[in-house]
Assembly symmetry: C2
Homo-oligomer: 408 residues x 2
């Protein structure tokens, strides 16, 4: 019998009524002739409340204890979900991450899965049970509770699907799938039926936060095909898988927009070895996450170095870089917020030329000024003024014909 | 270094502020030169809320899943307590019941402790940690989560104290200790400094619900001396231990009152073998817990059988016994509520005569009618009208001189 792994996020199990809805969906999957393993998150709000309590007893809680605390959230959901399924007349059993055989390293609050020994899952499936597994958690080989960090439940589902050789892995969330652009920005955005891992990764890192990148990377590494779909309707979602020949026919898969960006430019940096390293080491030491970096050709022995980052990080940048700017002998540091990033993503870009030209042209025709450009093999990203980025997204969506299904 | 086991109940850890108070008390114990293992319950209200959610998803939740659900309550408290201690500058670590090595049988929601392998507790104590253990829970040898039922956290504390050979076991609760009578009933009731296991058991079964009987029985079986005391002040509590010679000098240790009782009398039961068994089997099958049973001498071939029980159980009794009364050929069944039980308890009773006479005399002098009498080796219990039981308790307390400390 084929095994289906389903993952239900915090919004999908946010109330007991919604847990019952998930239970009915899980049962429907069993009725369709599948064995089902369901991975569930903490009910939405629960984790925040636990974090709030932890702050009340301690300014900087130990990460080991944070994991003991937060893992109760998923444990509550597995029990309630198993009960809900029982109440609807089916055999179900709950397993914590540890019981499901998920062994991690000992980096608390952001542990990596080391291996999975899904003996109990196999046994219960053989005995006809629906198995409910706590997402986001595991244990070290010494039996200490760990959690997997942001997006951890997705990772649990994909890792279990890989370990038990599931036919299908479905990630249920509060959106219908991955769209050609955010439908709140582009009215005629279209759900993408299939997308490659790499495209999904670029979309994720460009603001389409359907899933954390690490889960997609894990799925790519182990070749786990998964589907992102909504737990609030029965529409088919978006299937994420290895690229195939047909996929390349579509030049651009989607457009994504990331707001609340900021740009920092260090002016007249003496053009000698080690200065860039000095700057970005100082940022890394302060745990500031940088997005795009652009350095122009040196003119008269100095160069300008610019980078972008989340607007909220700006105050940290000032503290970290002010002494460095002085030290390396640069002229000044200029900060600017109110900007946004627009990216067009598609593996077809590799075999089609003129994508960048087409993007720049359509933005130019719309009177939109491009402040920075950065490209990867399958993505072109531009930095624009934040208040015209929605207009720009519509122009790009239209220029690449994304509102029409390929082959339609 | 001597090891102290402390147990903090749900009220004592009911808020994050109270958890911080417990943390300070634990640290003070360490400062006094002890190694400390603290067993904690779920924060008050948490368990009720979990039960409420379980009812929302399923009318009759599976007991296995109930244990997975409820055990999250204590797991939350251990993490918060360890964090609180960390925040106050000490090393602390939390352990779930399973991690603490508590192995139980597989009777979910009321599991019995089979054995304890406290390797992790020993290791962490040796490394200078304060160890926080989740009360009320364990796991089967197959690694399934179990809970120990009502009073389970007390049991955890006493069992751990026994397993690690702790010098002291302190049960922190919301009362100061065991009193000669409930101070709300008898104004000059006095805290009892020392009480024997057997007396404590009789007091517990007679309405002084400081602790569940099973924890006291466990302590008696393994000779664990423990102290019941308040987490809201630093007053010494009541030490519960094996009786010693000095204890017998006190004839009566205390008076306890149990309200909300009911009496059932089956009239003119044919006096032949097997009828009593038939009656009480029918009650046992319906899980009705009976307290006192009194059968008078047979007169003219029939006898009256009376028993008492909690008032709330009466409707179940009607359903269970109506057919039996008919079957055995008894005349009728009479139910009466509005009664209460008053007990005087003391191991000194064994070596002192006249205790019963003194009790009956003082009640009689107060114009109080006794409806039923039942005695054990160290207890005399009488059933009285509920609205005069407080008066009766004061009379008995006075008659046995309980407001004055022995030897004072």
């Amino acid at each position: 019998m084929s095994v289906v792994v389903q993952k239900y996020g915090g919004t999908s199990v946010g109330t007991t009524e919604r847990i019952l809805n998930c239970a009915r969906r899980i049962i429907a999957t069993q009725d369709a002739g599948h064995s089902v393993v369901a991975v569930v998150s903490a009910m939405s709000g629960v984790t925040d409340n636990l974090i709030k309590m932890s702050r009340e007893v301690c300014a900087q809680p130990a990460e080991r204890e944070m994991d003991v605390l937060l893992s109760t959230g998923e444990q509550t959901t597995i029990a309630l979900t198993a009960m809900a399924i029982n109440g609807l007349g089916r055999k179900a059993v709950s397993l914590t991450g540890a019981q499901a055989g998920i062994v991690t390293d000992n980096f608390h609050t952001k542990a990596k899965i080391a291996n999975i020994t899904p003996d109990q899952i196999h046994q219960y499936l053989e005995d006809g049970y629906i198995v409910i597994v706590a997402g986001f958690q595991g244990e070290t080989k010494d039996g200490t509770i760990t959690t997997l960090g942001r997006g951890g439940s997705d990772l649990t589902a994909i890792a279990i699907a890989s370990a038990i050789g599931a036919e299908v892995c479905q990630i249920y969330t509060d959106v219908d799938g991955v769209y050609t652009c955010d439908p709140r920005i582009v009215k005629n955005a279209r759900k993408i039926p299939e997308i490659s891992y790499d495209e999904m990764l670029e979309m994720a890192s460009s603001g389409s936060k359907v899933m954390q990148s690490r889960s997609v990377e894990f799925a790519k590494k182990f070749g786990v095909v998964f589907e992102v779909r909504s737990s609030f309707n029965t529409n088919p979602g978006t299937i994420v898988k290895e690229e195939n020949a047909g996929m390349e026919n579509v030049v651009i898969r989607g457009v994504s927009v990331e707001r609340n960006q900021a740009k920092v430019t260090i002016i007249q940096v003496p053009d000698k070895p080690g200065t860039a390293a000095r700057i970005f080491n100082a940022l890394a030491e302060t745990n500031i996450i940088i997005d795009m970096i652009v350095q122009n050709v040196s003119v008269s022995g100095t160069t300008d170095i610019s980078f972008t980052l989340g607007k909220d990080e700006l105050p940290k940048v000032e503290r970290a870089l002010a002494p460095v700017v002085k030290e390396i002998g640069a002229l000044d540091m200029i900060e600017q917020d109110g900007i946004a990033k627009l990216s067009v993503v598609g593996i077809g870009m590799r075999s089609h030329s003129g994508v960048a030209a087409k993007l720049f042209e359509c933005l130019s025709a719309g009177g939109i000024n491009i402040q920075m450009i950065s490209t990867s093999e399958i993505k072109i990203a531009v930095i624009l003024d934040e208040n015209i980025v929605n207009h720009a997204a519509n122009l790009a969506h239209e220029a690449f014909g994304l509102s029409v299904a390929p082959g339609a």
